[in-house]
Amino acid sequence: MNAPFALGLAALGVAIGLGMIGAGAMNGMSRQPEAIGKLQTAMLIALAFVELVFLLTVFVGMGALPK
């Protein structure tokens, strides 16, 4: 029962992180609309890295999931 809960926690953290990245990027974009292209690139890279954390968690924790 612990493993799914842990995965849920990981998802929670990653969701918060993704939201913060999105919020930061939106803030920046609204302040400087001319920098949207660069911000989007940086945002996507950041999203990819945060997402990776969750994927790693899933792969590590998958073995512990109840069958």
Binding site: F59, V60, M62, G63, L65
Partner: protein, 210 residues
């Protein structure tokens, strides 16, 4: 590794890569069928990571083939077509731009010529006007002088005529006076002395009439 992404890969390196790619594909399939990596794969699969290294090797081979083949089959022609088209468009644009510039030049030159002509015409008209005015003033002055001259001449003539007539009148008066006196006195007074006397008298009498 994937060193094949040059603009012009030589055919020998391309062939070399394709051969290596095919070899890798076959090797991947063979190793997979022999379960060579079973000792690594099974623990991973138990962890939930279904990784097959045979696939990896084969796919590397596939990509080694794919890079040069797709590049020479499609990407190189696509890029040349796009670049050529862009260059053509650029040429067209620059041509149009130069044509427009030329037209603008021509238009401005034409406008300049028109304005020049206008100015010239205006100048000419002004000059003609001025000349005419000059002529007018000159003519008027001429006329005025001629008038004055004529007036003076006429006055002179009048006075001369008057003088002549006066003289004639005087002579006539003298003669009449003498004739009348002769008849009155009955003797000839028509000598020099009498004539002078009458003349003097008339001249004296004439003064107030003048």
């Amino acid at each position: 590794m994937a060193n094949d992404i040059e603009k012009k890969p030589s055919s020998s390196t391309t062939a070399f890569k394709i051969i290596i790619g095919i070899t890798l594909m076959l090797a991947g399939g063979y190793l997979n069928s022999q379960h060579t990596f079973k000792s690594i794969e099974e623990p991973l699969a138990a962890q939930g990571i279904p990784l097959t290294f045979g696939n990896t090797i084969s796919v590397i081979g596939v990509f080694l083939i794919l890079f040069p083949v797709l590049n020479s089959f499609f990407f190189a022609p696509l890029m040349t077509a796009i670049n050529e088209r862009n260059r053509e468009l650029e040429n067209t644009f620059s041509e149009a731009e130069s044509l427009r510039k030329e037209m603008g030049d021509m238009k401005s030159a034409y406008e300049k010529r028109i304005s020049d002509t206008e100015a010239e015409a205006r100048e000419k008209i002004q000059a003609q006007l001025k000349e005419a005015q000059d002529l007018r003033t000159q003519l008027m002055a001429d006329a005025a002088t001629a008038k004055e001259h004529m007036i003076a001449q006429a006055q002179e003539e009048i006075s001369r005529e008057k003088d002549k007539i006066m003289n004639e009148l005087r002579v006539e008066v003298v003669n009449l006076a003498l004739g009348a006196t002769e008849k009155l006195i009955g003797e000839n007074v028509n000598n020099e002395t009498n004539k002078r006397l009458v003349q003097e008298f008339i001249e004296k009498a004439e003064v107030p009439s003048k």
